[in-house]
């Protein structure tokens, strides 16, 4: 009996899970240089790859002018502070205090959830969600948020791979140091692949810490933000632009506050005196680069197509026959030969569900056997 299909047996199909990582380097020039239309020293700095919205609650960064169909959305920026922040109540209505509190609350309720009374928790510097009293720790009440597009973050950011470099120099030269250093503060989750938290409703997260720029941090590797791996969101405390000595808010720098705005005023002034988009502009001006590895979970089913010596030695290809005679044989004693380029995977009712192509034809005759491993990823 001639047959064209071979049924898979139980041990011919198996499934696996693979984590696939891609390196994502996001150079700071994308954020503030390449498509700059106004010049970095102006307060109204913008770029054709920066999309602002009428509601003004966040700003989107693209890798190309966003009006082009070639542009890819790479991340969003926004700022916010808690209603319990010392900044709350110090801002004029025109500067979007309510929207900044809304943004903080929105991010907080998604990323750290609610306490037992149903109130939105604040972001915590070391991941301890106790709100008040002993052990409550330092809360991050004044934050910048970087929300990476799923196009980049995929299923999650790989733990221990995230680094963001931020300039702490003057506004006009954020990456330079007048005393000769590079003026760059490096914030990362280095080593956090084995030191992360699981008490967030949005998945796993870790604490970001800073390492030396010229404007030395006040203590070794101070905590200054959080990274939520599955959510693909980075929360940066405004403390990265403030000193521990001079600011109204707690800072991590040892020397002086960073002149965050073009007019030389500090991040606190930006948070209370600038629109969200303007504060995002000032942050973008200081982004040196961002790097991380993303993770894609590949669930695969592997089908082992076992072709025995007496399988598939003939073909139904119309060119296989010439006047009903097999072209590749001269007489009945010759071995039949067939060549195949395709593996088709079928349902029980003979519908072709998947197809795999070989890069070159393979020869099949009664002298050989083979197992073709077809992997389908989901």
């Amino acid at each position: 009996m001639a047959t064209t299909f071979k049924t898979f047996l139980n041990n011919d199909i198996t499934s696996t899970k693979t984590l696939l990582h891609e390196a994502i380097p996001l150079t700071g020039t994308l954020a503030s240089g390449t498509y700059n239309t106004a010049g970095a020293t102006t307060d109204t700095y913008d770029g054709t790859n920066i999309k602002n919205y009428a509601h003004g609650m966040f700003q989107s960064v693209y890798d190309y002018p966003y009006l082009s169909s070639s542009a890819n959305h790479i991340y969003d920026l926004t700022v916010g502070y808690a209603s319990a922040s010392v900044l709350s109540g110090t801002e004029a209505t025109t500067n979007m205090q309510a929207k900044k509190i809304n943004m903080y609350n929105q991010m907080a309720q998604v990323l750290v959830g609610y306490d037992t009374t149903g109130s939105i928790r604040n972001f915590d510097q070391d991941g301890n969600l106790v709100e008040t009293g002993a052990g409550s720790g330092t809360k991050l009440k004044d934050c910048f948020f970087i929300n990476f597009a799923r196009l980049l973050a995929k299923d999650e950011i790989k733990k221990g791979s995230f680094t963001i470099k931020i300039g702490t120099g003057s506004y006009a030269a954020p990456f330079a140091d007048t005393s000769g250093g590079d003026g760059i503060l490096t914030i990362s989750d280095s080593g956090k692949e084995n030191d992360y938290r699981v008490n967030s409703p949005a998945g796993e997260y870790a604490i970001l810490s800073a390492t030396a720029g010229y404007n030395k941090e006040i203590s070794p590797a101070p905590a200054c933000g959080l990274i939520f791996y599955q959510a693909g969101i980075v929360v940066l405390s405004s403390s990265i632009f403030l000193s521990g000595n001079t600011s109204a808010l707690p800072g991590i720098l040892s020397s002086s506050d960073v002149p965050f705005r073009p007019n030389g005023t500090y991040v606190t002034a930006s948070l209370t005196g600038s629109a969200i988009s303007a504060s995002c502009n000032y942050l973008r001006n200081r982004l040196y680069d961002i790097t991380f590895n993303n993770t894609t979970e590949l669930n695969s089913t592997i089908h082992f197509c076992r072709v025995n010596h007496n399988d598939y030695n003939y073909s139904s290809n119309p060119t296989y026959l010439s006047a009903s005679k097999i072209r590749v044989k001269n007489n009945t004693l010759d071995s039949p030969i067939a060549y195949f380029t395709t593996v088709g995977l079928y349902s029980s009712d003979n519908e072709l569900l998947a197809v795999a192509k070989l890069s070159e034809p393979l020869k099949k005759d009664p002298t050989n056997e083979m197992t073709i491993r077809v992997r389908l990823d989901y």
Partner: protein, 319 residues
């Protein structure tokens, strides 16, 4: 589709077909891979050179150098020809499926060997005037005038049908020999565009065949077997007349085509998928008609051998 890079190791480029994705999206468990087959769509076995002067190592050189296309995701565009498992290795001849042009009602018309399906009563011909099958006096035209033309409006009233024969098309084996039992085709799969028409029996009762399934491209598949569909599949005798096969004969499949309701009542698909041409009616008068050309594929389920038959649906447009 581009070619696959064949400069290094052998790689496999695997994709779900559109039908596979459709079943996966249905989420009802219909996506279940249970078997596999091997295909050789790109291979031209005529390039196998048994007389290569450099020896047997070079016989299949051209075949092995055949570039392979990336996978098509359209399930009906790939795996057109499959490899066969036959335990015996001593076969020298294999059966084919041939369009029958020898039996008068099954013969196609014209040099393109096409079957033409009339989609409505005007096109068939009725009391209002001659068509392509019926004369103005409402009687069937002479056979030569309606050769290869099927009554797709009322198939039971038409005599013509489509027939394909399975067997060995060689005169090196006596036609009186029986075809080997393991090569006898006992089941056929007929595939056609379900928007255009459906398969009905070639017998006078004109009963419609049961569709096995219709895929996402509207291709309907019909399964006919020798055991359960005697109106479609029949065993041919070794001395069966009216067959184009030169050698031993296996089975034959015969059927008619009924035009879909949409083709009978509307010109939408003719405008979208077809064109217009001029054909001569049985009264000898040239008539402008709308037409759609399509293929009906007949595949032997046992041997995998397939035959594509060109079919043209025609309709006289309303004035």
């Amino acid at each position: 589709m581009a070619f696959l890079d064949n400069s290094g190791d052998i790689i496999l480029d695997a994709v779900l077909t559109d039908a596979g994705r459709y079943r996966l999206a249905q989420g009802n468990g219909s996506f279940k891979i249970t078997k596999f087959a091997l295909g050789d769509d790109e291979i031209d076995y005529a390039s196998y050179n048994k007389n290569h002067p450099s020896g047997s190592a070079y016989y299949d050189l051209e075949i092995l150098q055949t570039p392979v296309l990336e996978a098509f995701t359209n399930n009906t565009s790939t795996m057109k020809s499959k490899l066969l498992s036959i335990p015996r290795t001593n076969l020298l001849y294999m059966p084919v499926i041939l369009q029958n042009t020898a039996e008068s009602p099954a013969a196609p018309s014209g040099s393109s060997e096409i079957h033409t399906v009339c989609c409505d009563s005007t096109t068939v011909g009725d009391t209002s005037g001659a068509g392509f099958l019926i004369q103005a006096n409402n009687t069937p035209a002479a056979y030569e005038l309606r050769k290869g033309i099927l009554n797709g409006f009322e198939p039971s009233k038409g005599e013509n049908f489509i027939r394909a024969d399975q067997g060995l098309n060689t005169n090196e084996i006596a036609a009186t020999s029986a075809i080997d039992a393991d090569l006898l085709e006992t089941q056929y799969i007929v595939e056609m565009d379900n928007r255009l028409g459906s398969v009905v029996t070639s017998e006078r009762d004109g009963g419609a065949a049961r569709v096995s399934f219709i895929d996402d491209d509207n291709i309907a598949s019909y399964y006919f077997s020798l055991a359960s569909d005697p109106g479609y599949v029949e065993q041919m005798n070794t001395n069966s007349p009216n067959s184009n096969l030169l050698g031993p004969k296996g089975t034959k499949i015969s059927f008619k085509i009924q035009a879909s309701t949409e083709l009978q009542t509307s010109t939408y698909l003719f405008e979208k998928l077809g064109s217009t041409t001029s054909m001569t009616k049985v009264d000898g008068i040239a008539q402008s008609v709308r037409y759609i050309d399509t293929m009906v594929k007949i595949t032997g389920a046992t041997t995998g051998y397939s035959l594509n038959l060109p079919v043209r649906f025609i309709k006289i447009p309303l004035v």
